[in-house]
């Protein structure tokens, strides 16, 4: 019985490694691409190594968030092999997941690295030959919403994504109360008066 299970297991290992998947007690890396060329790329033009750290430590910089990455924007040339070192500094699960990649290279267009706890893993993908901005995030419930969101710009990218910490603003905005301290009110009063006086002045000038 056990031998049969082992055989099944080995069989399965071979099939999963073909599908580009490594999985264990440490976490998993899914849909890696080390050598398959994206459409239009004649060759792998270059190689880049990046290290991405994930954890609550990186949320400090952005008030109101809880989780974050050491870097929230990545820029790569086209047809470039990117070797990612992903480090998790928390005692919980974190992910680094890129979406929208070509589906003929990555199942569901996804390159996915996940660590079940504190630790480190490596994985690679090859950037396509299109100028595009890809979403990278941690898809654990509310981790992206609370700061674990980044963008990957290939060949200059195709614009920015919303609510990337430190880079772009929210589309569904949070509301904050106005600071009613003297200094803030004074600034508001001065600016308001400035607008008022300029308008009156212009009207008088025109009359003359």
């Amino acid at each position: 019985m056990n031998k049969f299970l082992l055989l099944l297991f080995l069989l399965f290992l071979t099939t999963t490694s073909q599908a580009g998947m490594r999985m264990g007690e440490w976490g998993m890396v899914m849909n890696e691409n080390h050598d398959k060329l994206p459409q239009g790329c004649a060759e792998i033009a270059g190689e880049e190594n990046i290290t991405i750290k994930a954890g609550r430590e990186y949320a400090k910089e952005f008030p109101g968030t809880i989780f974050g990455y050491s870097q929230h924007e990545f820029k790569f040339p086209k047809c470039t092999k990117v070797n990612v070192t992903f480090i998790n500094e928390d005692d919980i699960r974190h992910q680094f997941m890129i979406h929208g990649l070509p589906t003929y290279l990555h199942s569901e267009g996804m390159f996915h690295m996940e660590l079940y706890g504190r630790g480190e893993t490596k994985g690679s993908f090859i950037t396509p030959k299109t100028e595009e901005t890809y979403l990278a995030h941690c898809d654990i419930a509310q981790h992206m919403e609370k700061g674990m969101k980044a963008q990957v710009l290939v060949g200059g990218g195709s614009g920015n994504l919303p609510s990337i910490p430190g880079i772009t603003g929210q589309l569904n905005k949070d509301r904050y109360d106005l600071d009613t301290s003297i200094s803030n009110l004074a600034i508001i009063a001065v600016l308001f008066l400035l607008g008022f006086v300029i308008s009156i002045f212009l009207v008088i000038q025109r009359k003359k």
């Binding site: 299970l5 099944l8 297991f9 399965f12 290992l13 999963t16 999985m23 264990g24 007690e25 976490g27 998993m28 954890g55 609550r56 008030p63 109101g64 968030t65 809880i66 989780f67 928390d90 005692d91 919980i92 699960r93 997941m97 979406h99 569901e108 267009g109 996804m110 996915h112 996940e114 079940y116 706890g117 898809d139 654990i140 419930a141 509310q142 981790h143 919403e145 609370k146 919303p162 609510s163 929210q170 589309l171 569904n172 905005k173 949070d174 509301r175």
Partner: protein, 571 residues
Amino acid sequence: MKKIPVIGLVISAMVLSTVALFLYDPSLVYARFFEYTGMPAYQAAPNSKPKPEIPPAIICDEDYPEWRKAYTIGGVNIQASDACNPDNPYEVAAFVRGTNNVIMPVLMRTQLSDDAVIKTNDRDGDGDPDDIIIRIEVVELNGRSPDSSELVPGFEIAPGIKPGAWVFAPKSRGMSTVNRDDLNANHLLRLPSAPIRVEAGDNVTLILENTHYFPHTIHLHGVDHSFENNDGVPQTSEEMTMPGEQHIYKIKPRHAGTMLYHCHVQVQVHMMMGLQGFFIVEENKPNNWVQTFNVGAGKVRKPSVAVLEDYAQEYDLHYQAIDTDLSDMIQESNDVRQLAKSMNRLYDITDGTDDYFMLNGRSFPYTLRESLITVEPNQHTKLRILNGMPDTLSLHTHGHKATITAYDGVDVNPLAQITRDVYSVTAAQRIDLDLYTKDDGLHSYGAGMWLMHDHAERAITTDGMAPGGNVSQIVYRKYLNKDAMPSGQGVNLTPYFTPEYYNREIPSWTLSDAFGFFDDVGDRRIDNYKDVLLVIVLGALAAVLFLLLVAFYGFFRGIAIKLNSAGVNDE
């Protein structure tokens, strides 16, 4: 101004007002008017509005109906389920064997992490593992997104109803949503917090991995545990587990029974947001591989050895309530500091009222999809009941009187056991019931589709709309149709599966009411000479009032001019 036109205008206004009153309802002017003139003419009430189109609704939405049958996976015998939405049998097998003991193809058919449930070492040599490591994460449902108004990850408790909630869930892997386009939560992330089962005498290591943005703990209510670093109370036994941290609870429970676990940080908020679940200690028996998690509660697909000695099947029934004043808070900001302030300091539970009532994380009609108790005649079914609501649960079983065999995990002396049809379960209390389907006029009145619900009537509604709330059924299997739904002689259930029904857009009896007696009333239209005259007279009255205003303006202007020429020098 000349005086005569003003007096004329005033008289006209009075006359027109009187005419208008007479046209509207003469008895307002003179109470006995109709006694002298004869009764008013018949005027038909407005027609009904057309019956609303009932949008097509899916009654049973299951993607994997084959999961309903009985399975044997990795040597684990998994009972069949009659639910429309059955549990994934591969996940059940992984929970029973431990994620470390199942082969990869089984684990790949689940969404569990490899270290979710680790089972090793048969220390007492009785054929089952005794060192159990259980990892739990904290998950938000229906939270806010900074990118759109869509709630993530989504979880509907009833058609169109998505209250914010937090749950304990087994440690999983991959995406929290179904995929990048369907932002509903994957099936492991749901209300209620997953029931946990261990065996008495097990060395249980319960690891809380706080994946949420607030601090949490676990309090093992009623479960035998030592105090230091283990009681889950931030004021006494330990620090809170902050976001990104983990806490290890070590227990070796000596006493078996139905218990409960819940977060003990800001309990009035965290427990009511959903951080509460069954913690069941099963009796120590040989070859007793227990099902560590029962995701979504409901039927236990692999009951323990002790339960199967006395019962054919077992169900976990977790009752919860939601106050939308609290649950909406997490949907109003994405800034955790604002959330902490509103939930800890602005929410006042003493002013709170519950709006939604759930059985196993859903309200009617979704309870029909996964919380039916399906029975055969002459069968003993074990029901474990947990009241997670802040008020007493008055659970009523139609057609059956069940016997209370345990309170709070302690067996009732068999001679003193009570058999009744309303079971009162106070807040945080658990009772075990023996539901015996013997048609003897006492335990059961015979086969049928018998309702089972909280008899505090607000709990059979969803924010006041009935039928809703925690209504479910005890169904004899011959009444189930091929979609695993109960089918009887009652009304068509389709409207209840539409969000429009709970938005109060559909008349409650619309499909039963062929004559349209109770359709919505149309609004009044101008359709007789009196209404025509009334509107014309009101127009005339408005004109007269306008002219009066003009006259007054001229009068005051005249005074102003006189004052100016007398005292004040103009340029």
